[in-house]
Amino acid sequence: MTAAKPAMQRLRDAVNEVDFNRFRFWFQITAFILFVYGGYLAIDLGSKLPFFSCGYNREGRAGVCYLLPLQHQLGRNWAVLFSMASLTILTGFLTFAAWFIVLNKGWCGFVCPLGTLQDWISALRRRLGIRYANYTQGQFAQLTKIKFVLLALLILIPLGIGGGLFSHDMSPPFCLICPARMVLPLFTGDLSQFTIDFSSKTAVVMTALGISVTALFFVGSFVKKRFFCFFCPMSALHYLISKPALLKLKKDGSKCTRCGDCYAVCDMEIKEIADDVKTTNIMTDDCTMCLKCVASCPETGALKATFVGIPIFVSTETGFIKRMNKGCQHGK
């Protein structure tokens, strides 16, 4: 008769063998309801959130994405911007970093309402039996740079607006083209963002661009998993400050057999997750930390998520088999 396992070990086994997709689905739906409808319950988590809890969702939002106040603050008149008054930019960034540091890019994979929406659109495509699209490695290498370009523009254009180089009708530039501005208010019955602003030529261009990007978002998300996340400047900003984050994705290359299961389930098509057997911190700039790679890994201890160095979700052979026996959960 084998000795009973310690309670902690039993808990770890339960977590590692969890029906991960179901857990993630419910986690995402809870987060979506919280951040899209939480405002109706007077929930307000501030304006420095590290994901797209869109500020344009005026009634329902439970907090505001940091990119909105950041662009407003950078768009101040230069005389104000380069004065002590701009200490608020620093304090704002520190607040944002404090939020971010907790979940790292897990905010993207588990909490971001726009990411969740893309997952739901992908689920719809899967149910319709339509195959998903992949980028070639060449395309991937080019597209992955776009988010950094957008991040640079997101900072430079407001600075130009504050200096009088660009029209105020361009402010806030990224929000005007972000699909979250149009899509998330829809869930509270607000269609007002689906308009073209004819008050100036700049406004016409920016609003037309916003509508176009949103239309492409719907089509792109339907054929490509996490389509918009490749271009998301918030993802780029996350990556730049991700070093001190508490949640980490780690890989033990010595246990990896390079079977490619993790790559097959990765929504972002990150090849390094399968190929790289040297790097320990395996999170890349495109990673959304959805942890599907950990759930699909058959090698015990090869991939794991840690929080402050403590493993909280580890790949195990038993967990892999359990999940596989549940049916086709991954890779579609």
Binding site: S47, P69, V80, S83, M84, A85, T88, A133, L191, S192, F194, T195, I196, D197, F198, S199, S200, K201, A203, V204, V205, T207, A208, I211, S212, T214, A215, L216, F218, V219, G220, F222, V223
Partner: protein, 444 residues
């Protein structure tokens, strides 16, 4: 596929071009004329057209004459439009001056306010300067109003008032006392030695019955005060003057919303629900807040806005209340048993499309008047009637409905969805390789 592409490109280019904002073509005008006639509308007669033409020409001639003259404010100081510094100017008569008098050529263009004014009584009682209503404005006469200058605070109903103050200090506010019933053309109110004047300010965390506000110093014309905490700041400039047997009491009120995203949330929440009435005011207009009104409220053209007329904090029934728009159009109504009166803010901002500014800050003015057979003594002189007048100014902005289009937005979105969806479908179809059966001959 190619034609769809072309159609989309054509529509997009059309939208981006300035052609949408161009003057209507002759063909368009002819179409409108035909539509109007088909709808039973009568075309204006030649005599009417001639009259309109004459008025327009007279107006243009007057405008040209005005441009050639220096801007002068009667018996006041001229405020330099950019520096804000004042310089004394000689007392001169002028065409569009302080009391809302109009150029001779403009008198033909009758505005509703003039037609509706009862019994030839002047628009206001003129206890400070010349016959106009006294009101508190957030801009001096020479500056006028226009596109918002930024800033978060504002008179009730609009943001973007002239906020000032040292960058390191609290925000400050300046208000100008103006006389006249036209928000654009009213000049400075002049001091009247015979009148008894008092100015009070009610701060968010100050005494409910207000504190005296220091009069303008150093020859300046504006009332200035700091706004260190968030909330509504109310200024009451009251004046009493005896004219014959009638005591004229006027109360010009300004309400300034000072809110920001930062700061103490509890302080902000308290300020949003705090009472906005001065119980000791002989007459007062209170702008009614909508139930769902947020702290950065902006009144838009087309909105319905209610006001309540109060006397010593109680509703005043039967007061004549006049709403005057930025362009001087007005409407009069009588307050009901709750002292309430409601107006729809008309759209009166019609610039050429290239000059349109969606942040254009227009001013409105509310004037409430009531008479009462009250006897008393003022400055040792008896009176048998009291004429009350209250004013409240505010700002409003163009309605988004004036410059935003759902049809274009949804149309462009739908086109791109169809175009890109079709492109993806065709791309995938092209890559599908036809089925080819491969037979292996194992017998060989």
């Amino acid at each position: 596929m190619t034609s769809l592409n072309r159609l989309f490109a054509l529509l997009f280019l059309l939208m981006l071009s300035g052609s949408l904002f161009a003057e209507p073509s002759e063909a368009q005008k002819a179409e409108w004329r035909a539509r109007r006639e088909a709808a039973g509308g009568e075309a204006p007669s030649e005599a009417q057209r001639a009259e309109w033409r004459a008025r327009r020409e007279a107006r243009e001639a007057s405008a040209k004459a005005d441009e050639s003259k220096p801007t002068v404010v009667a018996n006041e100081e001229r405020i330099h439009p950019t520096s804000g510094k004042s310089a004394p100017v000689p007392e001169l008569s002028h065409d569009h001056g302080a009391m809302g008098s109009r150029p001779a050529a403009d008198k033909g263009a009758v505005k509703p306010e003039e037609a509706a004014r009862p019994s030839g009584r002047p628009a206001g009682m003129g206890m400070r300067g010349g016959g106009g209503a006294i009101w508190l404005s957030d801009s001096p006469p020479s500056r006028g109003d226009g596109a918002g200058r930024g800033g978060m605070g504002g008179m009730m109903g609009m943001g973007g008032m002239a906020m000032g103050g040292e960058r390191s200090g609290p925000p400050s506010k300046r208000l100008w006392m103006r006389a006249g019933s036209d928000p654009q053309k009213s000049g400075f109110a002049r001091e009247d030695a015979d009148a008894q004047n008092e100015t009070l300010i009610v701060r968010p965390q100050g005494p409910l019955d207000g504190e005296a506000l220091a009069p303008p110093a150093d020859g300046k014309k504006n009332l200035a005060f700091e706004m260190p905490v968030q909330g509504y700041y109310r200024v009451y400039a009251s004046s009493r003057k005896l004219q014959g047997e009638t005591l004229n009491i006027s109360v010009a009120k300004a309400e300034i919303a000072n809110f920001s995203h930062g700061g103490d949330e509890e302080e902000r929440a308290q300020a949003l629900t705090a009472p906005r009435v001065l119980d000791s005011a002989p007459i007062e207009i209170v702008r009614e807040k909508a139930a769902d009104e947020k702290m950065f409220f902006q009144l838009k053209s087309g909105d319905e806005q209610a006001f309540v007329v109060l006397q010593k904090g109680l509703p005043l029934q039967g007061a004549r209340v006049r709403f005057v728009s930025h362009e001087g159009w007005s409407k009069e109504a009588v307050s009901d048993e709750q002292g309430r009166v409601s107006f729809q803010v008309i759209r009166d901002y019609f610039p050429a499309w290239d000059d349109f500014k969606k942040r254009f800050k227009a001013s409105y003015l509310i004037i409430a008047e009531a008479n009462a057979a009250e006897k008393g003594v003022f400055k040792d002189q008896p009176y048998s009637n009291v004429r009350y007048q209250a004013t409240l100014a505010g700002n409003y902005y163009p309605s988004p409905d004036d410059y935003r289009s759902y049809a274009w937005g949804l149309g462009i979105g739908l086109l791109i969805v169809l175009f890109s969806g079709t492109a993806v479908y065709l791309y995938r179809r092209r890559r599908v390789k036809p089925f080819q059966e491969v037979r292996f001959d194992d017998g060989r």
